[in-house]
Each structure stands twice: as structure tokens, then as C-alpha cells.
Amino acid sequence: MDLRPTADQQALQAGTRELLTRRFGRDRLREAVEAPALDRALWRELGAAGFFALRLPEADGGVGLGLPDAVLVFEEAGRALLPGPLVAGQLLAGVVPGVATGERVAGLCDAGRGGECLWEHPGDCDELILLEGGDPGDPCTPCTPRAPRAPRAPCDPGERGDLGGADGSEAAGSEADGLVESGPASGARGRAFWNAPDWPVLEPVRSIDPLTPLARVTSYPRSAPRSLDVPRLRREAALLTAALQLGSAARTVEMAVQHARSREQFGVRIGSFQAVKHLCAEMLIRVEIARSAVYAASLTERSLPVVGAKVLADEAAVRNARDCLQVHGGTGFTWEADVHLHLKRAWCRVEQWQSGGKAEEALAEALLADDVGV
């Protein structure tokens, strides 16, 4: 048992950071802010580096790594504010041809939330997959009469959200959910629809985040459902989004600390003022708490720890960006500083895959079922 990244994993993370620094440094970041269309050459380069094929078997041209490795890579992407439908690329690499290599770009949308379906980078996607139902933030959906045909309740005893391994076997791997073959059973298992990008009816949204073009999907034709494991896709999407948030949160601490160590007022560096110092300390706490939750969730691959990790990583990303802005003073409020890019992206990600209230409800519900307190 050791929750820290192994030497190989550290090397993977360092390599990713090096690649992103080289190919997506500050200049490129600021260019992307002015022209947010996806850089296809960079996308292909990421594909060539194995960014999308990370978890595909080596026999299929992948890198053969696992979710913990993907989480570390995504932490770096979040740190660098790398734009693009990254989560979709990682999750659909083995599903949509051309995505693994970065030749084609796929989008993944959380549909079925009543007109609130947001699509990031709509103009850049060659394919779109929409997910309905199968929400891990709603583990008891199948327990309601609305979904009588659910094959197996995802809120089974394995979902207790045990603390530190109630049965010592929690790292036994994924839950091996059954696939959704076809048919109309929505709800617990969810369903996935595959659409060409021009099929849905879109409403433009002027995105708050200059790096994340958005459109609202107002309606879409339901193609024959694709054979995809929707609960698993949702779980992994939430976890990878949490990893992006974690990277951003860690980066804003660094930015705040850098500034606090150089900026002088009253004849001393502002980092010597406790009011500033303590803001920075709380930022680090949020990062370490979120990191602990995200890393562990990548190993257990259970939905409840993922939900918890997303809640904590969302909080870390948003609140750290705000505190970072505060530490920067007036500079922090400028378009030229990168702080607002972190905050706006963090706000976008908060809305993706798990919403705060619903996630907290799921975490509360699990308390009733668990046996830790018995």
C-alpha cells in the first residue's frame, strides 16, 4: 500500500509536463485565448505521444496504462490549461476511430439534464456521443419504480464508500458493469447515442471561458443506442475532470506563492504577511485533500469515491483560483494575467459530470447504507 506515484508514474508525469511546456507554453496559451479553435497539429502530437491511447492495450497500439496514470497525465493538462475535449478524447479513444491518434476529435455530452446539455468545442468535433442516464451521482435511480428493467442496482453493497477498505478488497479493480446493448431501458444503466456533429440542434453560448467554446444542445435525434458502458463512462469522466481541476488548483497555489515571494509592499515581500501566508496555506490544504481523494478514486474505480473526489477537486480549483486572484491584487483582475483562465475553466468543469448538490446528496445517501459506523 503506497498512495504515492511510483517512479514510473513520476516519470510519466514529468514527461507530460515537459511535452506541454514545450508545445503549449505561455505564448501558445495566450494565442489560444485569442483564437480558441483547436490546434489540430498539437492534437495529433498529443495523440502520437499516447495522450489519448494511454489506456488502450498495447496490442491495439495503445500504451497499456491504467486510470491512475491517466489521472496523473490529466493533472498536468489541468495545470497547463490545455484546451480541447480532453476527457472525451481519453474515454472515446477505443470507441471512435481516429480519436486515439488525434486524427479525429470526438465530443462527449452529458445529455438528459433537461435542456442543460452543454457541448464543449462544438466546432472542433468530428463526432459526438451523448450520454443519458446511468449517473453515478444518483446511485439509487434503479431503486425507483421508474427503472424496473435495470439489470442490477449500482447502489449495491460495493458502493458503500468504505473508508480505508471495509473488506480489504476495494482495490480489486473496476466493477465490470454490463454493457448497454440496445433498447430503450434508460435510467440506471443509461444509454449512449452517437451523432454526427451537425445533427443536434444547437443554441450558441458565448462561453465565459475564452479557452472553452460552448454550445447548448437543445435537441438531438436518438440514433440507435451505442453499445457503451454508460455508468463507467460517467464515472471516469467525472474522475478525469476532477484530475484536471486538481492540476489547476495546484498551479494556482504555485502562482500565488511565486507572486507572494516577489511582490513587495510596506518594504517587505507580501508573502511575509500572515494574512497572505495563511491564504496560501489553505490553498495547499485544498490541493492535498483533493489529490488524496482523486488518486485513491483512480485505484478503487468506484463511483462514490469518484463523486467525493469531484466535489473536493471542484472546490480546490475554484477557491484556489479566487484566492490566487486575491493574492495578485489588481494584476489578478487583468485579462493579461492567467488567473482568470484558471477560474473560468474551473467554473466550466464544476458544471461537468457532477453537480455539487446532487453529488453531496449521493454521498449522504451512502452514509445510511454503510457499515463503518455499525
Binding site: M1, D2, R4, G164, G168, V253, S292, L363, A366, L368
Partner: protein, 378 residues
Amino acid sequence: MDLTYAPEEEEFRARLREWLAKTLPDLPARPDPLDWPGRRAYDLGWQRRLYDAGYGAVHWDASPTRRLIFLEETERAGAPYVGANFVGLLHAGPTIAAEGTDEQRARWLPPVVRGDEVWCQGFSEPEAGSDLAALRTRAVRDGDDYVVTGQKVWTSHAEIADWCELLVRTDPEAHRHRGISWLAMPMDAPGITVRPLRTLVGPAEFAEVFLDEVRVPVANRVGAEHDGWRVTMVTLSFERGTAFVGEVVACRRTLGGLARAARANGRWDDPVLRRRLGRLNAEFTALWRLIQRNVGAARDAGGVPDAGGSVFKLRYSQVRQELYDAAAEVLGPCGALDADQQWTADRLSSLSYTIAAGTSQIQRDIIAERILGLPKGR
């Protein structure tokens, strides 16, 4: 990254679990909080059982991972809290194990492990709280003894302790961090006066300790003379890094109990309360994962936790207070104001967590200066 335990660790867990299931139902009733001799006997008796079963020295003999399994399983099963053995088992003992000589380890560790002797911590003084290095209690060398004069305060369990891990100033001329020594003082030595202090919970949990020319053998010094500050840092890193680890599991149990109580009394219908409890679930689970991460780092550092302990201590103390604030809401106005309710008493004692073992402000300073490298200064 790996959350799986080695087969022999799983075996250790399974045996411990089995033993706990067999042993816990036969324990005597817990003593009244005001009955100090009863509490001492109870806490030592529990340690004796652990010792007889082979778990007595797990806090410093076993690997950090086994210690973690031990804490997790005992708390999960609802075993008695370390209580009076807190200092001996969780920070004085580990300090002696890490810094003491062979003779010192042989003298002081077995009685702690067997449940024969209780330790207390004489660090804080009236003028040296957060600023611990300002301590003034003097120790003057006289032959083979130090003659110690001064005053300690907030000394938990002083009334029932056999030994005190005592910080004294051995060189008043040196820079304040350099003239300190770490001594083991027998609490029955002439010249010690213990005056109990009531806490806001009610009972007297800590005390003032007056030292008037108390003779402590030089052989009782752990670490080099004047090098006590470094030894102190070892003690504090155990206190912050590992001493509260088991309590996280206990808090998680309490949280489950709160949810079920809320469901039973109808407060569960309040979505604001439910969300609060849900968020606490995420927080305590993450704290447990943070502990697991810190264990790896401690293993590499030869068992002594690093400044990551401050990260844990700071967040844990905050979340523990949030837990018992939520408990008050679950209990409702009558329960929340009823001092006989266990959760209400626990809410009161949770108030000390952001003060004891270094206040939250001090932990933030440590994190900012030692981990983030921000400049010193207030």
C-alpha cells in the same frame, strides 16, 4: 500508486479483527469521566490486553502500514480510545524509540507497552505556548542530576501520570532554540505540585505543574544536551502526523451514526443538512487517503512524519468541528443544549482541536514557511 495491502498485512488485519470481535464484548463498563483512578485503570487495562495479544508495541515496532491497519481496525470495531496512554504510546514513546539510547528504550518503552506506566507532556508554559521556544523552566546541572525549577501548564493527564516528557532550558545564554533539553521526569519526584484545571467540558483534563528544585537524573535526558529542540520537533511531528490518525476512522463512524439518527428523527428531510453530511463524508474519506499518502512518506523518512502532518492536523481539526456542529443540528435544539448527550460533550471537546498540538494559525505558518517556502515574518 497502490491501495492493496501485502498478504501478510491482510493476515495481520484478519487476525486483529478476529481478536477484537472476541475481546470487545467482554470489556468492563467505561468509567465515569470524573473518576480519574478508574480511568487510569481502564485505559491501562485495555493496553494490557493489547500487549497480551501481541499488539502492545505496534506504535513503534511495526511498519507504518501495520500501525495504520491497527488504528483503522481498532477504531472501526469501536475499541477503547488510547485515553491516558495518548502521550506514552503516540508521541513520547515513538520519540524515545527514535531518539533514545538502548538503555532508555529498555527502561521506558516496555512499561508503556505493557500498560504499567502513564506519560504526560510538559511542553507548554504560561509564557511559552505557540512560542514554545520561549520556555523558561530551568535545569541546572548538579552532579549526576539536573535541578529543575519552573512551571508547566495545560499538562493533560498530569494527575495520573508516572512520567513527564519535559522541556527545560539547560543553557540560558544560547540562542533560544539551542539551549533546550528533553528530559523524562518521574512524576513522583519531590518538588512537583500538580494543580488540576477544569476544561470547558467540565472535568479537569489538564493541569498546572509547578516544579521546585526537582532532581532529574542526567541519564534521563533523551538526545544531546541543548539539542532538545530537534528532539521536540520529532515529538511534535508524531503528535501532529500520526497521533490523531485513528480518530479519523472514529469520526467516520460517528458520521454514519449521525445520518441514521437524522433519518430516524426526521431531520434527514432537510436537504441542507443532508448535503452537509454528504460533504463531510467526502472530507473524512479524503483525510483517510491523505493519511495513507503520508504513511508512504514516513516510511521513507525512517518512520518520522514530515511537515505533511501539519496539513493533516489543520484540516482534521477543522472538519472534526464541522462534524460536531452537524451533530448539534441532527440532535435538534433540546439535544444540542443537553450536556449529557455524548455528541454535545464531544462538540465541546472538539473546540480544543484547533488549539492543542499547535494552533491552526501556527500550522498555517509551518505550511507556508516550510512547505511553500514563503518568507518568515508575521
